[in-house]
């Protein structure tokens, strides 16, 4: 078997300039994003590094993940992590898979992170995308890094599927049916008065830290209610509506319930009662600019520096399917920019890793940039009824994009109001 080399900080600094070099970060996606899991001086990753958590190495289809991240056997790989043994284990796995030129770097914590002159990057709002370890610490100790509050609520989101909560949820989590926050008539956010009642019932004020998650249980578009199996997507929808309402500290569990289970933490079927509060504490909505409706969507299409971003599947975009069993019309909004969600209306494969954690943000940013979705412009994300749009919105928000919104009505409202639409391949 070939052997890997060990390189120093100076060598890495020199090699980093070579375009044929791929730096592989095998720490957790959360450490990559910015969480300091080993008390390193600076959180985040070496500039330009790709995220390939060691956790994935046990997957039989690991090599497919590697190739999908454009890590080719022709590349010169530099692998680093927190743990020397684990780093070398991954290096050996690459060698076995036919990769020839591999180095390991063991000085990330002590030298790279410690030296402020060495280039690092992080997800700007990484604190809002939390790990199961962080959440467990919060639950067991009532304190956690980057948490400066004395009240929090954990929400297990689902759509008309309380059984999903009863089957097993994170200890301390309350159940949250998405129907509490969105109306089944329009699938839009509920009225300010309704949101106030629901949020207060949930025990949420504008100053409460809210952590949301859901369970992905392979939604099938042929089911009468596929959304009932797309709980984590529902969680991002609720996160968006809470941000719109004015909750200041909304966080998402990275990977949803799957990541909690993967980490080996227990779930419980014991119901956790809500602790209602008397007053939300601020005007609802406090952030109305985060949601746009039909008239504004029309204006966005006319503006040069604004994008209406379609977070739907290709088959929906070209009008082959409507995507939903309750939407009849098939097609797309003329002028919208396509930001492919994945396979169908209940899947977000292009925005998630194979374990449902959020995809490496550089990859999302790159794909968006190629089609003109950039932070300099105002971007309003839409889909069928707002769930997928909320997940894309949340990604952009995590990246620190400030000029963003969700076009809440999406294709459902657009097509119901007989606005013009297109089908077929875009010209």
């Amino acid at each position: 078997m070939e052997h890997f080399k060990e390189i120093s900080t100076e060598q890495l600094l020199y090699k980093i300039k070579n375009p044929g070099v791929k730096i592989i970060d095998i720490r957790s996606a959360d450490a990559y994003n910015g969480w300091k899991e080993e008390n390193e001086k600076r959180g985040g990753h070496i500039k330009g590094a790709k995220s390939l958590p060691a956790k994935w190495a046990k997957y039989i289809d690991w090599i497919e993940i590697v190739l999908s991240k454009e890590i080719s056997p022709k590349d010169f790989l530099i692998i680093y992590g927190y743990d020397k043994i684990q780093t070398e284990k991954i290096a050996n796995q690459f060698i076995k898979a036919g990769y020839l030129d591999i180095s390991v770097y063991h000085c990330f914590v002590n030298e790279w992170s410690a030296n402020e002159e060495l280039p690092m990057e992080k997800l700007q709002k990484y604190t809002q995308l939390v790990s199961p370890v962080w959440l467990n610490e919060l639950i067991t100790k009532s304190s956690a890094p980057e948490y400066n509050n004395n009240k929090y609520v954990i929400c297990h989101a689902h759509y008309r599927n309380k059984e999903d909560y009863e089957k097993g949820h994170i200890p301390g989590a309350v159940e949250l049916d998405t129907l509490c926050l969105e109306s089944p008539e329009t699938w839009n956010r509920r009225s300010p008065a309704e949101l106030k009642i629901e949020l207060e019932n949930l025990g949420i004020t504008c100053d409460t830290t809210v952590i949301l998650y859901g369970r992905f249980s392979y939604p099938d578009n042929n089911d009468p209610f596929p959304g009932s199996s797309a709980g984590h997507l529902g969680a991002t929808r609720c996160a968006f509506i809470m941000m719109y309402a004015g909750v200041k500290d909304v966080r998402l569990l990275n990977g949803g319930l799957q990541s909690w289970i993967d980490e080996g933490f227990e779930v419980t079927s014991e119901e956790n009662r809500r602790q209602p509060v008397i007053d939300f504490g601020n005007i609802i909505p406090s952030c109305p600019e985060l949601a746009v409706d039909l008239p504004e969507a029309v204006e966005i299409l006319k503006a040069i520096n604004k994008n209406l971003v379609c977070v739907r599947s290709w088959k929906e975009f070209i009008g082959e399917v409507s995507g939903y069993n309750y939407i009849e019309k098939k097609g797309r909004i003329p002028g919208a920019i396509f930001a492919n969600c994945g396979s169908d209306a209940y899947h977000m494969e292009n925005y998630r890793n194979l374990d449902h954690t959020t995809r490496e943000y550089h990859e999302i940013e790159k794909i968006w940039r190629e089609t003109g979705i950039t932070p300099e412009k105002f971007n309003a994300f839409y889909c069928g009824t707002g769930w997928r749009a909320s997940e894309a919105f949340f990604n952009a928000w995590l990246m620190g994009w400030s000029n963003i919104a969700v076009f809440d009505g999406g294709w459902f409202e657009w097509s119901n109001n007989n606005y013009p639409f297109e089908t077929g391949l875009p010209k």
């Binding site: 997957y59 090599i63 076995k96 396979s343």
Partner: protein, 136 residues
């Protein structure tokens, strides 16, 4: 051979494979050997939801035995399908409905397949059992 005899044979074959990469290569090779599904059967009706890649599955019954034909656009999925079909093809609908596919755990597919692909595997099994039920 019965369903369990075939499962035991597969478990034995996998026990010779050293690690995930070897299992991957083995499954990929199985995928290459899966006979492609005729284009006219690649319909919405035969498409299975909940899979990362597109999967089509159809069944026909002859002398109370079911014969499945399936295909996918991803080689690894084709390999997994080939494994499943090796077990359930030429079996009776009742045996398919009642069988416990323990080989999945024993060869490490349930714990060592990425969750999205794992979900797809269970979606395929559900469809196989549904089609068997329709042919009881």
């Amino acid at each position: 051979m019965t369903i369990n005899e075939i499962q035991d044979k597969i478990i034995e074959e996998f026990s010779l494979l050293e690690d995930g990469l070897e299992k991957y290569k083995y499954i990929i090779n199985l995928g290459k050997s899966l006979e492609p599904l005729k284009k006219e059967y690649r319909t919405e009706e035969n498409l299975i939801g909940g899979c990362q890649s597109e999967v089509w599955l159809k069944a026909k019954i002859k002398n109370n035995k079911i014969y499945f034909a399936a295909d996918s656009d991803a080689l690894i999925t084709k390999g997994i399908i080939a494994l499943l079909l090796r077990i359930v093809n030429n079996q009776s609908p009742g045996d398919i409905i009642n069988c416990e596919l323990y080989f999945i755990n024993r060869i490490g597919l349930s714990s060592n397949l990425s969750p999205v692909r794992g979900n797809g595997l269970f979606a395929i099994i559900n469809r196989i059992k549904t089609l068997a039920g329709n042919n009881l």
